[in-house]
């Protein structure tokens, strides 16, 4: 999801001229909307793929429908671009960080395997599974040091019960299994080592733990070095050339959890009862039934059915991803047709069930670990076992049984099968090592809810658009869309001052014009006027409405409105052609009749002059009409009555034009749009009229045009007021 959306937003973010080209679908370039609006429409349609939307999307939407100056919009776009910038790099940074973390984790794992151990096992996974380690590393580590979860022992692929110690050690170190009669080469089991072992275990432990606690946080590395050298020098095992002699080194966790966690101390011995720890551990190895590797018999046991499971497999088991509860029994066909809908409605019903036992399928899987009778490697200083399953301290146990040969008995032998409740203190559940499941679930729920809201908004929008569309197509009932929209307006209670006038103004004009014109006029102004308020009502009703969908709607609406305009323009152009012809006819009529009034007046060479004047009129008339037509739908009402003379046609047109504007102006919710639109139009109209006035001045002697001039000046004054 993140990737595709990023790409799209990347594609969309750069310069604005992209937006213009992207709008090629919307027809001819001579749209009545000012470029800002065009560009906004472009951005909105381009932005659809974006997932990460912020407040400024809402702002953009509101900015479309409410007052919004050009500059503000500019600034907003800037902001968006800025937001896009870090977003991109954030993605990249995340990837980098991920890679870095993995590398660090790898290093940490190597270090930990070299230096740290718990009862012959490790505190990091040994690589049975290669996937992501998404469990909480700290928690698992702590549990393992507390001996509440088995350490990550190395699983050995094969095992024979009659293997000698040497063979066992070799197997545990992934070396070739030597012959049965091979002796343990590097680990001399001296008879005297027991006592030394004990002294080393008992005496220096205190000092070590203390020095550890003292010199810990300030300079962990130096203290580690010092202490490891100390333990090496003081240890009788220092001379051992064991491959993992490094484990003798004193080690502690890296500084990350050093502060919170209890002080860790190390029992660096690698022998138990004079035998290598590996030999003791793997002597009666048992197979993990999931990964089929052999582990020491002290594996975790499932709380429900007492099956062994190694830690490495255990940390892999987790909750399934949040999903809709399955009503049908599991095993229904994968792609369900109604899945989309169901998901839309079931946003809150997402569940995440706790993992169930892989063996007996009992829910709420958990394991119990019986600590080994002895301890090696890291322990927490001064830590009494969280639950007193084991009464004896490890050292005393070791000392009392060290002389006997019965030490490495498998605990499972004499153990009775027990089951534990989920909330028993011994039980480690899968949720325990993944405490973030709740946030994950909440996140998924949020996302589902957002998607559902978006779907609702889209449906509502589709409903509205459908109605508007229908109305635009059918001229039989021009008021239906208006009624629907008004109903929405009223129901939403968001009555803008425009809403009322928008519905009221057309009423008087209907009487003057015929129905066909009314119907052709209605749809174009109506959607810009009412659809945004409908949008608002949707926005208000559903708080969680997805703005992305709204932007889509807006883009669709704009393109629809434009399409309407295009149609109108064609109509007008056709009409204008007819008018022009008529105008020419009128001009010729005027030219022929001109000599008569000229004799009454100034009359030096009246005939040619009037002729040229009228010709000028007709010449200038055509561009004016053309301009008006290109300005779409503003002329229609006045042009219905074109049968009279050229001058009488011109002036009411201009007047009608401005009237029309006045009528439609309040209908626009986008005030900025309306203003810019009108400003442009009036400029054109004013220049046209100015010329007309000029040429009519030449016709001052004609009573017709004089009257017309009065009207035209009046209208130009009105226009001047409007522009001011």
């Amino acid at each position: 999801m993140g990737n595709t959306s990023t790409k799209e937003s990347r594609g969309a973010s750069p310069p604005p001229h992209n937006h213009r080209t992207s709008r090629s679908f919307s027809g001819t370039a001579s749209s009545a909307f000012p470029p800002e609006v065009e560009r906004n429409a472009g951005t909105s349609s381009l932005r659809l793929g974006r997932r990460h939307r912020g407040d400024n999307f809402e702002a953009a939407l509101l900015g479309l429908s409410l007052t919004h100056t050009h500059r503000e919009r500019e600034r907003e776009r800037e902001r968006e671009r800025e937001q896009d910038g870090p977003y991109k790099t954030r993605e990249e940074r995340r990837a980098e960080k991920e890679a870095e973390r993995r590398k660090e984790r790898e290093k940490e794992r190597e270090r930990s395997m070299a230096e740290e151990s718990v009862d012959g096992g490790y505190l990091v996974t040994v690589g049975v599974y290669t996937g992501l380690e998404d469990y909480n590393l700290k928690i698992v580590r702590q549990l393992q040091i507390e001996r509440r979860l088995a350490p990550f022992w190395k699983g050995i692929p094969d095992h024979e019960d009659d293997w000698t110690d040497a063979q066992l050690v070799a197997a545990a170190h992934s070396r070739e299994i030597p012959d049965a009669d091979a002796v343990l080469p590097p680990s001399p089991t001296k008879p005297s080592s027991t006592s030394e072992d004990l002294t080393r275990l008992t005496v220096p432990l205190a000092t070590r733990s203390r020095s550890q606690s003292y010199g810990s946080d300030a300079s962990p590395s130096s203290s580690t070095g010092r202490l490891s050298s100390l333990s090496l020098s003081s240890s009788p095992l220092a001379g051992f050339t064991r491959p993992r002699s490094k484990t003798l080194g004193f080690s502690r966790s890296s500084s990350a959890n050093a502060n919170a966690a209890p002080v860790e101390t190390n029992i660096p011995s690698r022998t138990v009862n004079n035998r290598p720890i590996e030999a003791v551990l793997y002597e009666h190895a048992s197979e993990c039934p999931i990964c089929f590797l052999y582990y020491p018999p002290h594996l975790n046991r499932t709380r429900c059915c007492d099956q062994p499971i190694c830690s490495e497999c255990f940390v892999q088991i987790k909750r399934a991803d949040p999903h809709v509860p399955e009503h049908s029994p599991p095993g229904s066909p994968a792609p369900q047709p109604a899945d989309q809908d169901r998901r839309a409605h079931a946003g809150d019903q997402l569940i995440s069930e706790p993992a169930s036992c892989p063996f007996c399928k009992q829910p709420e899987f958990g394991v119990v670990f019986q600590p080994l009778p002895w301890k090696r490697g890291l322990v927490y200083a001064n830590q009494s076992h969280p639950y007193s399953v084991q009464q004896q301290s490890p050292l005393s146990y070791n000392s009392t049984t060290s002389s006997t040969s019965s030490l490495p008995t498998t605990p499972s032998g004499g153990r009775k099968k027990t089951t534990y409740a989920v909330n028993a203190p011994e039980v480690i559940t899968t949720d325990r090592i993944r405490p973030d499941w709740a946030t994950k679930l909440a996140h998924a729920k949020n996302q589902a809810a957002r998607r559902a809201a978006a779907a609702t908004a889209l449906h509502t929008a589709a409903y509205l658009m459908h109605n508007i569309n229908n109305n635009g197509g059918s001229s039989s009932n021009p008021f239906s869309s208006r009624r629907i929209l008004r109903r929405i307006n009223n129901s939403s209670g968001s009555m803008t001052p425009n809403g009322g006038s928008g519905t009221a103004t057309p009423a008087p004009t209907t009487s003057a014009t015929n129905i066909a014109q009314q119907s052709s006029e209605t749809p174009a102004p109506a959607p810009p006027a009412n659809a945004p308020s409908a949008l608002h009502s949707v926005l208000r009703r559903a708080r969680m409405v997805d703005l992305e969908e709204m932007m889509l709607m807006e883009a669709i609406r704009l393109s629809l409105a434009e399409e309407e305009e295009r149609k109108h323009k064609e109509e007008k152009e056709a009409k204008a052609k007819g008018e022009k012809e008529e105008l020419d006819r009128a001009a010729t009529r005027l030219a022929t009749s001109a000599p008569e009034p000229s004799s009454m007046g100034k009359g030096k060479s009246p005939a040619p002059r009037v002729d040229t004047a009228v010709r000028r009129t007709s010449e200038e008339q055509s561009p004016t009409v053309g301009f008006g037509a290109s300005q779409h739908l503003k002329i229609h009402r006045a042009t219905s009555d074109v049968s009279s003379s050229a001058s009488s046609m011109k002036e009411p047109e201009a007047g009608g034009n401005s009237e029309d504007e006045e009528a439609t102006e309040p209908m626009f919710n986008f005030q900025s749009l309306a203003q810019t639109l009108m400003a442009g139009e009036e400029d054109g109209a004013a220049t046209g009229k100015g010329k007309q006035v000029e040429c009519e001045n030449g016709h001052a002697e004609e009573p017709d045009t004089a009257e017309g001039k009065g009207v035209s000046t009046a209208s130009s004054v009105r226009i001047g007021q409007e522009t001011a």
Partner: protein, 105 residues
Amino acid sequence: MALPKRIIKETERLVAEPVPGIQAVPHDDNLRYFDVSIHGPTQSPYEGGVFKLELFLPEDYPMTPPKIRFLTKIYHPNIDRLGRICLDVLKGRLKRPLSSPNQSS
């Protein structure tokens, strides 16, 4: 990465003691990929038929179930046109990893 021990062991076992009526042969170049053929059980509508399937053990097997698909057309309520099988143990995350049958405990 090397083949997990579990896959090796299971393959060995499969070869050593094949399930009656089912053959599964791993590819030489990819030991996670198997050609499977199932003989229609006697006294079933599928009797006499030999149904070929492909099986793949994903990266995190056994934590995710194997991917398996019928290559032979088959009329069965739980198998779709593409041969995909609708079965809970083949879906989602591990619900029940096959446990070793020779597990003593």
